[in-house]
């Protein structure tokens, strides 16, 4: 890509007037935006010595990683390298045999998945995992679940405060739908949406959960170039507007090199390299993993 997507975004005039503002207000009520001096320094997510095996298959081997405040970390690696496994371990779906995970100095290794999600580690899935029977709006509302304040009895009796809360939450979700430019399909059942729109709904659902760290598992897989650019734009907008760190798993090198602050490379469950995009492009180990050993020396 000749012009960097990121630069386009940076130099474009602010378009946030109609997207995500309600969500950001909601999030600012709960915790302050990260301080300027923390950005790029303070560690928000840390994994130490993670080992994960399925029977004889070592899916993750002694993985250490750190994600800093306000950072866009990309994870790349061939298929089956264990990238998705790492995200699954972070979100508590797989339990690592060894190793610890810390979120802002809090140990989350043994927390339940939904507890981890409530903390704000929100993710999208490689193989779309939406609630297929619900509409787009309802999918986002379902993700608001931990943040909706009334209990189920007042919901069943539909007390006025439950009704008001529903409307408030709905406004937040509609805001996200606007931001993702999905207004036309907001009342469509997601099972019937096109692939690209479903991927976008997934992103919306992760947003609705009020992410403090966004974990994206191949959000652009299987998209054409236009859709990829759209998606990249959304991700960067979120990243800059909500000031949250993002972990991005992606195969498209163009996108990764453009948007990432730092790149981590996986191969066969091992972390083979880590560094800025420029460092990664010349790293011999990476080249050998992707292109074969004979190219590594070049």
């Amino acid at each position: 890509m000749t012009t960097s997507i990121r630069n386009i975004t940076k130099h474009r005039e602010q378009r946030y007037s109609y997207g995500l503002t309600l969500l950001r207000e909601e999030m600012e009520k709960k915790y302050p935006m990260p301080k300027e001096e923390d950005v790029g320094k303070k560690v928000v997510l840390k994994g130490e010595g993670i080992n994960l095996a399925f029977g004889g298959l070592q899916a993750l081997m002694d993985i250490n990683f750190e994600l800093k405040e306000g950072e866009l970390l990309a994870i790349i690696g061939p298929n089956g390298a264990g990238k998705t496994c790492l995200l699954n371990v972070v979100s508590g779906f797989y339990r690592a045999q060894e190793g610890e995970i810390y979120y802002r100095d809090r140990k989350i290794t043994h927390m339940s998945s939904h507890g981890i999600a409530e903390l704000g580690l929100c993710r999208t899935f490689q193989n779309i995992a939406l609630y297929t029977g619900l509409t787009v709006i309802e999918n986002l509302m379902a993700a608001r679940h931990p943040h909706i304040k009334y209990n189920f009895l007042s919901g069943m009796l539909y007390f006025p405060w439950a009704s008001d809360e529903e409307v408030r939450q709905r406004a937040i979700c509609e805001d996200i739908v606007d931001f993702l430019e999905m207004d036309a399909v907001r009342n469509h059942v997601v099972g019937s949406l096109a692939y690209g729109l479903r991927k976008r709904t997934e992103l919306g659902r992760a947003l609705a959960l009020e992410p403090r760290i966004l974990l994206l598992d191949e959000p652009m897989a299987g998209m054409n170039r236009d859709e990829k650019e759209d998606m990249a734009r959304f991700i960067l907008d979120i990243y800059e507007f909500l000031k949250i760190p993002v972990v991005l798993i992606e195969h498209d090198m163009g996108v990764v090199m453009d948007v990432a602050d730092r790149i981590m490379v996986f191969d066969f469950g091992k972390q083979i390299a880590e560094g800025t995009p420029d460092e990664i492009t010349v790293n011999p180990k990476v080249i050998s993993a992707y292109l074969g050993t004979e190219y590594a020396g070049v």
Partner: protein, 295 residues
């Protein structure tokens, strides 16, 4: 001690039939991934078909048994073609509801034809009487039932291992799409599985009808055999056999030792309590394969 051995031997005999029923469930589940609750009703059908041929029509035994087996084959073909094939690809609830419904449908048909009385074969089917081996008294019908069940299961295993169709079925057990791509006629495999299951069902029906008498409630005995499958998971024939035998022994032991302590007929409840316990502690059966879930 004598008491225990007696109960265990009798339990094994009963367990043979449970194993046969359980294998019927497994055969269909393995190849079609449909759990056939109606297998329980196949038992009733078998029992009544034999009654019809043997007693009402007074056919000779071989003809009556052949007739019953033919009923089983026909039932299998009909059910597969009319009920199950249109449902291929529908969510899991659909086959559950349909097979449960089919169970009641068959019960309805039998009620309509035979009414609600209990019938027996008297001495027209398996020989009555008993053998005395040491201190154990073995009713002949039980022993024959056990032997016949084991022979039927053995024949099934031979079919799987020795014939082309058996091979095709084993491939289909692994993956429907792969099997289809290998040129196996998956629909034919489904058909065979249903037919085999129904035949196993009517065989166990004949045996149970002989032991317990023909009544529409025989299908509850069939449902009890589900507990047997939970031993080895839904996909293991070996597990079903072991499970069936264990279930039979357990049931006899309960009758011997627990029944006096409990009100009513715990014999009906024991297999289900047992089932619930297995499910709570080992969700995929005692020796079953754990299903992997991915994201």
């Amino acid at each position: 001690m004598e008491q225990i051995i007696k109960l265990i031997v009798l339990g094994l005999c009963m367990g043979g039939i449970y194993a046969l029923v359980a294998v019927g469930y497994v055969v269909v589940y393995k190849s079609t991934k449909v759990f056939n609750f109606a297998q329980a009703a196949m038992i009733t059908v078998g029992a009544y078909a034999l009654y019809q041929a043997l007693i009402v029509w007074s056919l000779p035994i071989w003809a009556a048994v052949l007739f019953t087996l033919a009923v089983g084959v026909a039932l299998g073909l009909l059910v597969e073609r009319l009920l199950m094939r249109p449902l291929i690809g529908q969510p899991i609830l659909a086959p559950i509801v349909v097979t449960l419904g089919l169970m009641l449908l068959l019960r309805g048909v039998i009620l309509m034809i035979f009414g609600g009385q209990v019938y027996g074969y008297g001495e027209h089917f398996l020989p009555l009487g008993a053998w005395h081996v040491g201190f154990v008294t073995l009713p002949m019908i039980q022993v024959y039932a056990f032997i016949i069940s084991m022979v039927a299961i053995f024949a099934l295993i031979q079919f799987y291992n020795r014939t082309r169709m058996g091979l095709a079925m084993r491939v289909t057990h692994e993956d429907h799409v792969v099997a289809q791509n290998l040129g196996i006629n998956v629909k034919r495999v489904f058909q065979y599985s249903w037919v085999i299951a129904c035949v196993l069902g009517v065989i166990s029906g004949m045996l149970l009808g002989n032991i317990q008498g023909c009544c529409v409630e025989l299908d509850v005995t069939g449902l009890m055999a589900i507990a047997a499958i939970l031993f080895g998971g839904l996909e293991s024939i070996g597990g079903a056999i072991v499970g069936g035998l264990t279930l039979g022994v357990l049931q006899m032991l309960t009758i011997g030792y627990l029944a006096p302590l409990m009100p009513g007929e715990p014999i009906m409840m024991v297999p289900f309590a047992f089932m619930l316990l297995i499910l709570i502690f080992k969700p995929y059966g005692l020796f079953g394969l754990v299903r992997i879930e991915r994201l």
